[in-house]
């Protein structure tokens, strides 16, 4: 745990309203959601993933300050929260675009030709995996099997699953996400 701008003793972000690293403060709604999730479990730590998802849902990604703030609410070390955040591929520790495209690259979609779809996406967006377009609109990532193999090649944009997607469908599909 590092000391936030609040400068409170021991570096614990327990002073509520003051800002932490990267000026991060949990909103009341975020704090409420995290505390609600904590009620579902024996131990507050179990709400780590829920908390990270809550912050990510409202801010797009999880900053260092968010890690500290979540740790303070859960009462566990920030290193533990970050250990969890960096383990799970659906938690983003760097800023992402307004829309995240997750392309299934597992065997079902391999057999139905996802590589052509991926190439078309990379061509139209002008980015490789792991990158965000210059206008901040899209981030492109690979993902493992989406459980949509009967409609492969499949991909997700934000929370929407699409499939089967052909290279010719890509332009129209992207148009739906401004």
């Amino acid at each position: 745990m590092t000391t936030g701008n609040c400068g409170c003793a021991g570096g614990q972000n327990t002073c509520g309203g003051n800002k932490g690293k990267d000026n991060f403060v949990l909103s009341d709604a975020e704090r409420h959601d995290i505390e609600h999730a904590m009620e579902h479990y024996e131990d507050p730590r179990a709400a780590s993933i829920d908390a990270l998802k809550t912050v990510q849902a409202s801010r797009g990604w999880v900053s260092d300050g968010a890690i500290d703030a979540i740790a303070a609410v859960l009462g566990i070390p920030a290193s533990d929260v970050d250990g969890v955040a960096t383990f799970y591929n659906r938690i983003y520790r760097k800023p992402v675009g307004r829309h995240v495209i997750s392309v299934c690259d597992s065997i079902g979609c391999f057999l139905t030709g996802y590589e052509d779809v991926k190439s078309e996406l990379q061509k139209q967006l002008g980015i490789e995996y792991g990158r965000t377009t210059a206008d901040g609109r899209f981030t492109l990532l690979p993902i493992c099997c989406l459980g949509n193999c009967d409609k492969g090649p499949a991909l997700m944009i934000d929370d929407d699953t699409h499939g089967p997607v052909a290279p010719a469908d890509v332009a129209k599909l992207l148009e739906q996400y401004k």
Partner: protein, 439 residues
């Protein structure tokens, strides 16, 4: 294109898992579910049966785990401590459907959320759990919404909460959504993830039945396994056994499916032990025009390849095991004749390498190494000895050498691809191209 074939004349008697699914694919909510015998099994069990009797019926039915391992559900349950001193216990549903090629649990949860909710309550009663969690992969957004709504409806109806149906037994049920990583499907890694930790597997023993979530006795069952439980309670163990129509010593139906370049793809509820040929030809319609079947994975990325000559085998746990593979999840992936097996296996091993949790060295380092060698062979830059090296990997990353079943699962398609298609690997090693392959 997907065509979920709906059966004419489907009934709870013949197609227990899917008969309530609507043609329009709208989810079945409480009133409609109850009108079709929904929660009748729960009412029956809580009124007429003690937990031991529910456990005994499920054991007698010989229901085997539908998550892929085929372990008898009733036997798993029988290992959990019972009685007044057993303390807090948990029931966890493994809904982290992430085995490549598998899309059966999604069907059940999106269409019939109450079936899983009823199954969870009833199974929790059988083991006297005080809380249940549905560990759902984060990408299943629609399933999460529908399960949460179903839980709210069930709670309002008195099926969940304090003093369920007047029995004096309290039960709460929650949906826990994940944030990625295939390894969460491993039972003990799933428990770590549920506790808000990195999803590394735990040492066994102790088994979760003794020390699972938060150190308390815990049962982890797959969605399809649990979904069978209300039907077994309602209609009995003998009825369940008869569902396989003599095609298998196992009982029940099974959600089978097929993907790849077949004419039709989808998932169908059929008697367990249905032949792979029936699934492939009758339901899948065979390969698309101009293609033929080269080989197939019976039930996920972590099962061994089988050949067209194996299609007449019964798709059950023991038969497919005897043929050198595993039925796994029972959703077939058909590999067409245009695919190069080195490329197919390279794709599979890239998946396993990326999804290794990194906890044990053979898996963390062995899988990327395997990928590196496969990529070289794929590019025609393999070196003499590479095939033997890959075969050594299939032994060094085998059961007993690694912490969990992840790496051994990764080795199954690799070992069988080399066994059946060694020529294609040799093609990628310039000095080892067999004479027969050179003009």
């Amino acid at each position: 294109m997907s065509h979920h074939v709906l059966y004419s004349g489907k009934t709870g008697e013949t197609h227990p898992l899917t008969f309530r699914i609507r043609d329009d694919r709208q989810p079945v909510w409480l009133a409609e579910y109850e009108a079709q015998d929904g929660y009748a099994a729960l009412r029956k069990a809580l009124k007429e049966m003690d937990p031991a009797a529910v456990q005994a019926t499920v054991k007698d039915s010989n229901l085997r785990g539908r998550g892929g391992a085929g372990f008898p559900t009733g036997v798993k349950w029988s290992l959990i401590p019972m009685g007044p001193d057993a303390g807090k216990k948990y029931l966890v549903c493994n809904a982290d459907e992430m085995e490549p090629g598998t899309f059966k649990d999604r069907l059940l949860m999106e269409n019939l959320p109450h079936q899983l909710v009823e199954a969870m309550i009833l199974s929790a009663y059988a083991i006297q759990a005080y809380r249940g969690y549905i560990f759902l992969r984060g990408e299943y957004v629609v399933a999460a919404e529908r399960l949460n709504k179903a839980i709210a409806e069930a709670k309002a109806a008195g099926y969940i909460g304090k003093n369920v149906l007047g029995t004096g037994w309290d039960f709460e049920l929650y949906v826990h959504t994940g944030a990625g990583r295939y390894i969460c499907g491993e039972e003990t890694a799933l428990i770590n993830s549920l506790e808000g930790r990195r999803a590394n597997p735990r040492a066994k023993p102790p088994f979760p039945q003794i020390a699972g979530a938060w150190g308390k006795p815990t049962i982890v069952n797959n969605v399809e396994s649990l979904s069978n439980v209300p039907h077994i309670i309602l209609r009995g163990a003998e009825w369940f056994k008869g569902l396989s129509q003599g095609k298998s010593p196992d009982g029940g139906t099974k959600l089978y499916g097929i993907s790849g370049r077949t004419r039709r793809t989808g998932v169908w509820e059929l008697p367990i032990g249905t032949s792979a040929r029936e699934i492939f030809e009758e339901h899948g319609g065979g390969m698309q025009d101009g293609l033929s079947l080269k080989c197939w994975l019976p039930g996920g990325a972590s099962t061994d390849f089988l050949l067209p000559e194996h299609l007449d085998l019964a798709m059950d746990f023991d038969t497919i095991m005897k043929a050198g593979s595993r039925m796994g999840t029972g959703l077939i992936m058909a590999v067409d004749n245009r695919q190069n097996m080195v490329s197919v296996v390279r794709n599979l091993e890239e998946f396993f390498a990326r999804e290794s949790c990194g906890w044990c060295t053979p898996c963390r380092d062995g899988l990327p190494w395997t990928v590196k060698v496969l990529r070289a062979i794929e590019k025609g830059e393999g070196k003499p000895g590479d095939i033997e090296f890959l075969q050594k990997m299939t032994r060094d990353l085998w059961i007993g050498k690694t912490f969990c079943a992840h790496a051994p699962g990764a080795m199954e398609p690799l070992q069988s691809a080399i066994k059946f298609f060694r020529d294609e690997f040799q093609q990628g090693i310039p000095s080892q191209i067999p004479a027969t392959a050179v003009n």
